[in-house]
């Protein structure tokens, strides 16, 4: 083992900042991170054991206990649940004779719950040793388990191909991309790699920044910060070492547009990165790719190589003397909060993905404390069209404050889940129709951290001036239990994904979830609803990062827009109902000391 681990460490130049890669490689080989590995890592990388352990413990896909030779990670998002996840779980459990979150006695197969894997348009879906298995049914499960028991390799288990892209390293996966509507900016048919880049290097970096500024292109990752302005700030920070990071963490449940871009238009993205790199003066770009998308890693690497061969990456790019820029892919290891840009940077440096205090902002001090621009996949892709067609053309799409088009991931109760490229300003109603959703009770906009609206608001627009979104809509049909099936699931998600630094994020969300469960249990009071609403507002002002600031949104927005659902569950006029049951609560201690439940006991 020692030799092997040393060689993995060697592969990453004994660099502690590559701890993520090293740990993932060890996890892949040994199916867990053994004690011995921790010792060797600490020793070789000049870290304390605790440093190594705390990084391991942070990430869902790194484990100190063996996860199984075949590790099955089954998505447990709300949409997976309404798509028949329970039957799939039951089938797995029956076939294997163990319950979820366990490993078979022979260590062959482990089954684990996992947060949204970006496949909401083809649930229930699971990752098995990195490969994606979609639209699972009990029958498919039977075949899978039989295949695994017969010792088949993962590629041989993939029996249906959704997407086949024939690059130098072909991508064959069960995942389908479901592009339902193409747009002028993304998925236009006349994209030719390199054109925009050549056009860009004919201008000065300042001119590129000005053009992007004038286009009013705003970040597509959720917050909507103007891209040109961000680049300008980075340039102003000065210094000769600057980094460009592409945020491909896409962890918001229900969002899968970056997945589709990455498979369909990787060259567009990498070209956008090269242009951004040129504009801010970066020599190195990094794509932070969520672990769940590692099935496309080899394919993306091959595309990068192709671009290098064409001199669109590397040294003196496209013949421009002194323009050197290259891209590497950094895999995450399963943590939603790593989508937050400062957590992402921590993770890139091989640490726990805990958000930093801001300021300083990444454009001032980011990766390795150097000025860093972090942009979403879609933002960087849009840059290419801005350069090709000009700022004015770009602004001819969308609304006054939201220029251009937006890729939306639509899923949930609808006929045509998938990707839609639309102009900003489109109404929710229109999207409901396009997706073929009927009898819609509610639409979750922008994932769990966004908001949940009802029919009286379906005429609202998707735009930064109305309903801002990073790009997802989940349709929730009339027949669903909105609070029990969705809001609870969303709260559980945030509770699991909180990094734990801020007390209100760590504890208050648990308190809120439990209060909601109390109401769902028929033990709630009107005062509980009021308190829930009041307390849910606290996190917004007391937590450090966007996760904690929005984690209570599922509760806040459903109380605002669906208060009747809460009130219908309240069965009493009392303003206080306790869920405490004395008999239950003393049962364990009485059993331990061999004593009967007698009340009232004799008091002193």
């Amino acid at each position: 083992m020692r030799e092997n681990i040393l060689s993995i460490i060697e592969k990453y130049q004994k660099d502690h900042r590559r701890l993520m890669d090293i740990l993932i490689a060890i996890q892949d080989t040994y199916r867990h991170i053994p004690d011995e590995a921790v010792d060797i890592l600490a020793d070789q990388l000049d870290l304390s054991k605790v440093d190594v352990e705390q990084t391991i413990s942070f990430y869902h896909f790194l484990s100190r206990e063996p996860v199984g030779k075949y590790a099955i990670y089954l998505n447990d998002s709300a949409v997976a649940n309404i798509s028949g996840r329970a039957e799939v779980v039951q089938a797995f459990e029956e076939e294997l004779g163990i319950s979820f979150n366990n490993v078979t006695a022979d260590g062959l197969i482990g089954m684990w719950d996992t947060a949204d894997i970006g496949m909401n348009d083809q649930e229930p879906a699971a990752l098995i040793n990195g490969a994606v298995f979609t639209k699972l049914t009990p029958k498919k499960v039977k075949n899978l388990v039989a295949g695994i028991k017969a010792g088949k390799d993962i590629p041989d288990l993939v029996t249906e191909i959704g997407e086949e892209v024939n690059g130098p390293a072909a991508l064959s996966t069960m995942v389908t991309n479901n592009i339902r509507q193409k747009g002028a900016i993304l998925f236009s048919d006349d994209y030719e790699v390199g054109q925009a880049l050549k056009q860009a290097i004919a201008q000065t970096p300042e001119e590129i920044v000005t053009e992007v500024k004038q286009s009013n292109l705003r970040g597509r990752g959720g917050a909507g910060f103007p891209a040109g302005l961000k680049w300008d700030f980075c340039r102003q920070s000065g210094g000769d070492e600057v980094y460009l990071i592409c945020n491909a963490d896409e962890g918001e449940p229900g969002t899968f547009k970056d997945r589709v871009i990455l498979t369909e238009l990787p060259k567009l993205l990498f070209e956008g990165m090269a242009i951004a790199g040129y504009a801010i003066g970066a020599k190195q770009g990094i794509v932070y790719l969520r672990y769940e998308y590692r099935y496309m890693q080899a394919y993306l690497e091959s595309i990068l190589q192709e671009l290098r061969d064409q001199n669109f990456l590397g040294k003196n790019i496209a013949g421009k003397a002194g323009f050197d820029f290259d891209i590497r892919i950094q895999l995450g290891a399963g943590a939603y909060v790593c989508g937050e840009e400062t957590a992402l940077i921590e993770s890139l440096e091989g640490k726990r993905g805990e958000p930093r205090n801001r300021p300083p902002f990444p454009v001032q001090r980011g990766y390795l404390d150097k000025p860093t621009v972090v942009n979403n996949v879609e933002t960087l892709c849009s840059v290419v069209q801005v350069i090709l067609e000009g700022a004015e053309w770009f602004k001819s799409f969308g609304t006054s404050e939201s220029a251009g088009t937006k890729l939306l991931s639509l899923s949930g109760d609808c006929k045509n889940p998938g990707i839609y490229a639309v102009e900003w300003g489109v109404t929710v109603q229109k999207l409901i129709r396009r997706a073929g959703a009927t009898n819609v009770q509610a639409v979750q906009i922008g994932g769990p951290s966004g908001m949940c609206i009802g029919p009286d608001q379906f005429n609202r627009q998707l735009a930064f001036e109305d309903l801002a979104t990073g790009g997802s809509l989940i349709f929730i049909g009339e027949e669903r239990d909105l609070l029990g099936d969705f809001v609870v699931n969303f709260m559980d998600f945030f509770i699991d994904e909180s990094c734990g630094s801020c007390a209100p994020c760590r504890s208050l969300n648990v308190i809120l979830r439990n209060k909601l469960l109390k109401i769902l249990d028929g033990k709630g009071t009107n005062q509980d609803i009021d308190e829930l609403y009041k307390w849910a507002g606290v996190g917004r002002v007391t937590n450090r990062c966007g996760l904690g600031q929005t984690a209570a949104n599922p509760i806040l927005s459903t109380i605002e827009n669906f208060r009747h659902l809460y009130e219908d569950l309240v069965e009493t006029n009392e303003n206080f109902v306790s869920t405490f049951d004395l008999k239950d609560s003393v049962a364990e201690s009485n059993a331990a000391v061999d004593r009967e439940f007698v009340l009232p006991h004799k008091t002193r």
Partner: protein, 182 residues
């Protein structure tokens, strides 16, 4: 005019909150003018003899007797105040909440390094003893609590100011010093 009636108790607490209450120093003379004490360790009245206006609760609930006393307070006091971290959150005693009560008992009476004399391996189970709860509960999960005074213990000034505000109906004075905790 009759004086407002005050009751106090310590449940699963360390009496530190009561000690802090006594830290009001010479204001204890004003206190006697301000309120009449009923059930409380301060005057050693063991059972309620009349309906009270205010009940101060120190400590959370770790056993069946705490539950009984707390419910008794709720019945006999118009306003209940959770005083201190233990009453509000369970406090130090709630550190056992992550460990099963069976394990706690075994550690305390059978396996702990300081357990020497218990050769017969007896676990206390006399029916006169309160029964232990599976966890230490904050008071507001058992009965409705009207107000909360944070701190471990809350400063004497905070307890005093809150009491005066409740009795006089004036706004509670909360200068920064009385609610800062480090």
């Amino acid at each position: 005019m009759t004086k407002p009636v005050l009751a106090t108790t310590s449940l699963a607490g360390c009496f530190g909150c009561h000690m802090s209450f006594l830290d009001i120093d010479e204001r204890i003379l004003e206190l006697i003018d301000l309120v009449e004490f009923n059930k409380s360790p301060v005057d050693d009245i063991k059972t309620f003899t009349k309906q009270c206006d205010i009940g101060l609760i120190e400590g959370g609930c770790c056993n069946s007797e705490n539950i009984e006393v707390l419910k008794d307070f709720r019945k006999n006091c118009n306003i209940l105040v959770s005083v201190g971290e233990c009453a509000i959150m369970g406090g130090l005693p709630a550190l056992r909440n992550g460990i099963s009560i069976k394990e706690c008992l075994e550690e305390a009476y059978l396996d702990g390094p300081t357990v020497k004399a218990n050769t017969e391996k007896i676990m206390p189970n006399d029916e006169e003893l309160p029964m232990l709860l599976d966890m230490v509960y904050p008071c507001h999960e058992i009965v409705k609590i009207d107000y909360f005074l944070p701190g471990c213990p809350p400063r004497a000034d905070l307890i005093w100011n809150a009491l005066v505000a409740l009795v006089t109906g004036d706004e509670l004075k909360m200068p920064y010093e009385v609610v800062k905790f480090d």
